[in-house]
Amino acid sequence: MISTEDEISIDLKDHGGPVYAGRTKGEKVREKYKLDNADVTNVKVKITIPENTYTINSSFFLGLLGESIRKAESKDAFLNKFCFVGPEIFNSKINDYISRALHEKKPLL
């Protein structure tokens, strides 16, 4: 875990793997890095996905970052703060998960 005043670095290899699944597991990582505090400051967050990752499931991803996405209120605002480093194969999945998190908000009607 590398954490400076300006950036928090999260390497998923420190948190199990190669299967990243389960909302509670994601929430535990979120708590460990105090991402709730990071959401309200200008700190950048870098998330490293290991090369040998089998899968990152939506449950883990949304447990880890769902609240941050909703607080950012848009995909662009979220990706300005959080950056992902790792196999490109996960990029499309991450985009889908971000869209989902944005829908888990208050109803329109």
Partner: protein
């Protein structure tokens, strides 16, 4: 008999006898006085009668007829019946919008029917995979990978269909998507432990391996949640 008739003949007699005009004038004055006093008396009687009428108690105190109570009863009943109908129709219209539009036209065809089809398709595929020949591990692993990828893509597609429900019922969208996530986690672990790359031992394989029942359990939970939502919305 009027006073004028009493004095008529004496006046005529006097005229005939040449009585002077002064006496005649006097008689006329007397007659006028009598007429005035008679008029005053009549006017006084008239005033008394008017006064009596003004002070008289002329309030209508008779009992209302029997049909009056029926008419009153009908009027009150109609009034409350109309109030009841107003609220009844209001609730009925609201329920029709939820039931006819949101449930029958949106939730069932767009979300629930594709979900049932999804469950039927992939539960059958998982069953076939579990029953397939595992002696050729390469083929089996490729089949698992193919199944998993297809399942995940289709699951995300189903969740996107549920986005339309989030417009009205955000909570139910969150609950349903989490249940599909749990199904995804179970499928992921099943596929992973059953592949050679996992180096899983028999204990782990037994722990995470699943059969097609998990699909129907998830479907039953989702339908129960939708049913509960429907019951709570329809009042």
């Amino acid at each position: 008999m009027t006073p004028s008739s009493l004095v008529a003949s004496p006046v005529s007699a006097l005229d005939n006898k040449g009585v002077n005009k002064k006496i005649k004038q006097l008689i006329i004055e007397k007659e006028k006085q009598y007429l005035h006093s008679s008029h005053d008396k009549q006017l006084g009687e008239f005033n008394v009668r008017i006064k009596n009428l003004e002070t008289a108690d002329i309030t209508y105190r008779s009992k209302p007829p029997g049909y009056f109570w029926w008419a009153l009863f009908l009027a009150v009943t109609t009034f409350f019946w109309n109030i009841f109908l107003f609220f009844y129709n209001k609730v009925k219209n609201r329920n029709e919008i939820i039931d006819e539009y949101w449930v029958r036209n949106i939730a069932l065809p767009i979300c629930v029917n594709p979900l049932i089809e999804f469950v039927e398709t992939y539960s059958a595929q998982l069953k076939a995979l579990n029953l397939s020949d595992k002696s050729n591990m390469i083929n089996y692993e490729n089949d698992l990978k193919g199944f998993q990828k297809e399942f995940k893509d289709e699951k995300e597609f189903i969740i996107k269909k549920f986005f339309v429900l989030s417009i009205k019922w955000n909570e139910i969208f969150n609950v349903l998507s989490k249940q599909l996530d749990e199904l995804d986690d179970a499928i992921t672990m099943h596929c992973y432990v059953n592949q050679k790359i996992s180096n899983s031992d028999a204990r782990q394989i037994a722990k995470y391996s699943i059969n097609e029942d998990v699909f129907y359990t998830t479907l039953a939970r989702i339908l129960a949640d939708l049913s509960e939502l429907h019951s709570s919305e329809i009042k």
